[in-house]
């Protein structure tokens, strides 16, 4: 009965109800979209920071990630690699070297990563950022994949030859020829200007470090659970090795992720405080207009608690309706932004921040929490905004209320 009364009451003043509903629908839909875009940016940044270089975890000898000492290398058995397999999406054994890379008549300092191409593409996504040429093939011994900035600086293109010079582990000067197979452009200036991927055996041979590795980059299904997975992995590994998750490798990025929740809270608060005030106003007016009616309802035997509940049900009914429409609109907008998005590359360039790259595009990621949070908060706001007028209605003296005109 109270539900029936509540639902009919909210349609008594259609125009006012529709205006309030519109505000609630727009705020919840925009909030869902906004959080989706935030998630999209965060995912892009995290992906650029992890899936273009580090992976989600790095296994290396203790201290290697701090000083990148060539001699801090290790070797692993196939059994060890099997240990990782059921739990990760991919892992890539790597050897790293720093040296001078020369093209036609120009040279540049670079970082070389020796990788097994098929394993590396399970961890990083450079194959998705190819600007020219192709990715390294498994049996390609002398191929090189270089950043677009570096290719420009050295004036080379796929098919051109390069010379790499560095110090080998035995003290000798290692140098050898490479052939450019492909050029990648990630938007991250650091990688695009100085990173080169080569075949792992080629680099092991050049550095005189046969069978040795500097790190194993790991990609897991849920990047935000990397710290927990790293802790598990540490238990299984020899004590000479360490496991660092992306949060330890990129502490600034971890701060960005942490600040995301705060930002989300601020946005939700601002939007919903405004919406809440609108609802409060609507229901106060509605209660004031019906003072006499509340008096009659109480005169014929309705208890104050039932009156309070009736008004709260009105706000809740309105909230549920707004929520339904708002979620549909919000999800549709988010889906559009997820599959189509808005390309801003004409007016913006990628921004590298905290080790990640903010790409010049607006796109959304549809996550359950981005729908649930606005939905739950909208209902809470409705109930909070409805409570004051509901309480006022319940505290009316029937004899006074009935006299109201």
């Amino acid at each position: 009965m109270l539900w029936r009364l509540a639902i009919r009451n909210i349609w008594r003043n259609r125009r006012r109800t529709l205006l309030t509903l519109s505000a609630m629908v727009v705020s919840s839909a925009l909030l869902i979209l906004c959080l989706g875009i935030f998630s999209g940016m965060l995912k892009d940044m995290l992906a650029s920071a992890t899936e273009q270089y580090f992976g989600h975890l790095e296994i290396s000898t203790k201290g290697y990630q701090e000083d990148r000492d060539m001699f801090a290398n290790f070797s692993v058995s196939d059994d060890f690699l099997l240990l990782l397999q059921p739990q990760v999406l991919g892992f890539s054994p790597r050897l790293r070297s720093f040296g001078l890379l020369s093209g036609q008549d120009k040279s540049s300092p670079v970082e070389l990563l020796g990788v097994e191409p098929e394993r590396e593409r399970q961890v990083t996504s450079l194959q998705d950022h190819l600007q020219a040429g192709s990715y390294l093939l498994a049996d390609d011994h002398e191929g090189a994949l270089i950043g677009a900035g570096l290719a420009r600086r050295l004036a080379v293109k796929p098919g051109d030859q390069l010379v790499f010079v560095t110090q080998a582990a035995d003290g000798s000067i290692g140098n050898d020829l490479l052939t450019v197979r492909g050029v990648f452009a990630t938007g991250d200036q650091g990688h695009d200007n100085g990173l080169v991927l080569v075949a792992l055996p080629w680099l092991q041979q050049l550095l005189v470090l046969p069978g040795r590795l500097h790190e194993i980059a790991v990609r897991i299904e849920h990047p935000l659970q990397a710290a927990a997975f790293a802790a598990q992995l540490r238990q299984k590994l020899p004590t000479t090795l360490e496991v660092l998750d992306w949060g330890e490798l990129l502490p600034e990025m971890r701060e960005v992720v942490a600040s995301y929740d705060v930002s989300r809270l601020i946005i939700v608060s601002i939007l919903y405080v405004a919406t809440g005030l609108g609802i409060l106003n609507t229901f106060f007016m509605s209660v004031m207009e019906r003072t006499r009616e509340f008096g009659v309802l109480m005169a014929v035997g309705m208890r104050p608690g039932q009156v309070r509940l009736m008004v709260l049900l009105e706000t809740l009914a309105m909230g549920l309706l707004a929520l339904l429409i708002g979620v549909v609109f919000g999800v549709l907008l988010s889906l559009y932004m997820a599959y189509v998005g808005i390309d801003l590359s004409g007016s913006l360039t990628p921004i590298t921040y905290a080790g990640g790259t903010i790409l010049p595009r607006l796109h959304a990621v549809l996550e359950v929490t981005n729908v649930l949070v606005p939905a739950a908060v909208l209902l809470l706001v409705c109930l909070l905004a409805g409570f004051l007028p509901a309480n006022r209605a319940a505290r009316m003296q029937p004899v006074v209320a009935i006299r109201e005109e």
Partner: protein
């Protein structure tokens, strides 16, 4: 035993720095089955007295007893329960709930009492037949004439078979003929079903139908005949 008993009841309202005595030291007994009018000019205290009997207000002094309950001692929740179980109200301006149909208005107290739908509908069919409201069940109050609305209000007041029906100036908004019809109807309900009616009115027509007239002046009992 009296259904309603007022023992030296006074009701004093503050008005700015002054105090207005609406009812002064009034004692009165009303038995079940009576058809009583509280008569008197405007400001004589009849509506205040009706509100006190109807548990809508509490006395400043004295005691109001309704069917064995001391109204002045009860909490708001208990008063609501008393009103629901013991009292039916008929107001001058009908005061039907605009978002409910005629039948829903009439069965409202039955819904509050938690009576199931079948029994409610049965009761409403009986009442609407008795009050000449057949065919108007699904009409909204705004689609009914004043007389029809007041009949629905009577149906609402009678639905839960209360101990007493209190009617505050029930004919004040109606034309003469409709007023005659309604008074005849209430008189018939009183005589055939034993429903206790207490009116407040200064309308000579209402007073002429009453079997007992309690006259008030300046909050005091002037006559009781």
């Amino acid at each position: 035993m009296s259904l309603i008993e007022l023992k030296s009841v006074s009701k004093i309202y503050p008005l700015g720095n002054q105090q207005v005595v609406a009812v002064a030291n009034l004692s009165l007994k009303i038995k079940a089955g009576e058809f009583t009018v509280l008569a008197g000019p405007s400001g004589s205290g009849k509506t205040t007295l009706l509100n006190l009997i109807g548990c809508l207000d509490q006395p400043s002094e004295g005691e109001v007893w309704l069917d064995g309950h001391n109204v002045g001692k009860e909490e708001a929740k208990q008063l609501a329960k008393l009103r629901l179980n013991k009292i039916g109200f008929i107001f001058q301006s009908y005061n039907l709930i605009p978002v409910l149909t005629a039948a829903e208005n009439a069965e409202f107290t039955l819904m509050l009492l938690g009576i199931d739908k079948v029994k409610r509908r049965q009761r409403i069919v009986e009442l609407f037949a008795e009050l000449g409201l057949q065919g108007l069940e699904d009409r909204n109050p705004s689609d009914l004439s004043g007389g029809q609305q007041q009949r629905v209000a009577i149906a609402r007041a009678m639905a839960a078979q209360p101990a007493v029906i209190l009617a505050d100036e029930p004919t004040a908004s109606l034309d003469l003929q409709t007023s005659e019809d309604l008074l005849a109807l209430m008189q018939r309900l009183n005589e055939t079903q034993g429903v206790t009616f207490v009116f407040s009115s200064h309308d000579p027509l209402v007073i002429s139908h009453a079997r007992r007239v309690v006259s008030l002046r300046d909050g005091c009992l002037e006559s009781d005949r």
